[in-house]
Symmetry: C2
Subunit: 338 residues, 2 copies
């Protein structure tokens, strides 16, 4: 499982989220306490399931986006804490439901909740977290922020259904795949980043800039994830290399490889991903085909393109430690691929 694809590294593109983590340490501690208290329930299965996932060491990138754009745009209240926790709850609910839909065994390097407590608990605890998320949003009292996050919830689900309907089609065009990524991943990044300037009561242009930053960071993040699934190590990924392959997921490296491939290679993709007939050694073959067509490298190139848009979106704001931290975060998301 230690296949590592050597991506080209652009000089200076190492990036870091240390700045973000450092600047937001105090506020993230409050978000984490709130998350813990709001997963509390007399029904012990709820905190068990929720904390299994929440405490399993995700980077909390999405809630940090809310805190960061609130600080960036001069917000001085407390509403960002609750909105950030809501964003994390929405994300966790999505992961719980995704695992049921994808029949995943693993999540973030641990057994998926559904393997431990059953599909039923994953569905229902996800619903509980969504309900709690909306309750917290109501407490913040911004109808605009609520609208942005409710819209993201609907868009995410719509994107997942679309993917379900379009699943297993190796001939998916790149545009269609990107539309799924926009819905499934980027919509929550975008909403998380937009609610900061909304509660700071900043003008439309700043909201749009933060939203654009979130959208493009989200796309870049997902594309790098797609590449990592064929070239990272289990440790870095928190899931096994080849999970997407084994689950028959059509991701950008596959889309590119299929388009650029020979008839024989296309038959390979159809057999393994559409028909789900995966044999010993197929993952190595898949990675070899991807290398032949530079599919992983070009997936990262595409990610760089969206990363550049994310960075440009922040040009509207004056330089500040928070702005720099957000810029570094873009580089970090892309440099994960190395």
């Amino acid at each position: 499982m230690g296949v590592v694809v050597p991506f080209e590294e652009k000089s200076g593109e190492r990036g870091s989220i240390d700045g973000l983590i450092h600047l937001l340490a105090g506020r993230m501690e409050r978000v984490n306490s709130l998350i813990l208290s709001r997963t509390g329930s007399d029904v012990t299965m709820i905190p068990e399931v929720a904390n299994h996932l929440i405490s399993s060491g995700g980077k909390r990138l999405r809630p940090m986006l809310t805190l960061a754009t609130a600080v960036l745009t001069g917000y001085e209240g407390d509403g960002d804490i609750k909105l950030a926790a809501s964003v994390e709850f929405m994300h966790t609910a999505t992961l719980l439901h995704d695992d049921v839909v994808d029949e995943s065994d693993m999540r973030r390097g641990k057994l998926a909740a559904r393997m431990l407590w059953g599909n039923e608990a994953s569905v229902l605890v996800g619903d509980f977290l969504l309900g709690q998320a909306f309750k917290m949003m109501v407490e913040v009292g911004s109808l605009e922020a609520l609208g942005v996050l409710a819209n993201a919830a609907a868009v995410i689900a719509e994107g997942e259904v679309w993917q379900l309907a379009a699943a297993k089609n190796t001939a998916t065009p790149e545009d269609d795949y990107l539309a799924v990524v926009r819905a499934k991943t980027a919509a929550l990044f975008a909403a998380a980043a937009e609610v900061g300037p909304i509660i700071a009561d900043r003008p439309k242009a700043e909201r749009a800039a933060c939203r654009s930053y979130g959208t493009n960071l989200g796309i870049a993040f997902q594309l790098v994830d797609d590449a990592l699934d064929y070239g990272g190590t289990s440790d870095a990924l928190g899931k096994n290399v080849g999970d997407d392959f084994r689950e028959g997921k059509i991701t950008l490296p596959v889309v590119l490889s299929f388009r650029r491939g020979s008839n024989e290679e296309r038959d390979f993709w159809r057999r393994t991903l559409e028909q789900g007939e995966v044999r010993e050694g197929d993952l190595d073959t898949a990675i070899a085909i991807m290398r032949r067509h530079r599919a992983l490298e070009d997936t990262i190139e595409r990610a760089r393109h969206y990363g550049a848009m994310a960075r440009d979106a922040l040009e509207l704001f004056q330089d500040s430690p928070m702005r720099q931290a957000l810029l570094d975060t873009v580089d970090f998301c892309i440099a994960r691929a190395h």
Copy 2:
């Protein structure tokens, strides 16, 4: 499947929802149009799945409660239409997720959506409808109404998880079972009825009265449903007699029969419901045991008790056609058992 248990009928207790239907006909038409338009999506599976359930002839009791209490408390705007549609979406989402959790084959006399489109679609389309529900609530612009409905969403899910954890325990005390009913069924009835006076900007006492009406109507409704599952006909029920029995659900008729039963009978309940070993003729035996202990009649008696509370809650309001229609609805819900 034509086992009909002759419940005692109290004189004059036939009830009807015709008054409610008649008084709200125009507004319900608008709710129905809104429901249709908000299930629309370029992803064709979404309207397919949603309309399969939404158009399958539920009584739309919950959204009618929102419209009715808005009229009752003098509301003159349009917000009740969107809130009523939101309530129906929340209910539909719950049904979709319930079917996955319960592994049900049938719903409202049709194949459950999960049997036609798979568990995945049921989970995700449910999520989509929840997202759309919250979007509509945001459009109405009442944070208080939003808070009440968001709270209901969390309580419903919490109740379902509790039921999951407590499932298959034939020794469940009546109080515990009622707590589940309050969460799973009554919470949405209560919220649906409370948001009417909220958007009408009426004082706390009227909100509490409408909420109490909804809660108690919801409990009565569920208990009658429990009894019908052992004594109605398939036609009246929209599901098969004995569904709860086959799914091993612990409902009030079981709770009462278990408490009142002999050791031999308790062994029967443990075998059929806890261990799921159901043999030919067991449903008939179950119904015979229930008759012996008057468990179905007493379940309806309990329902009458909650129905009386629902009626009393409306004493606060002056007599009006809408108030009378809401009173008749209580009787209708209980008279379904005959």
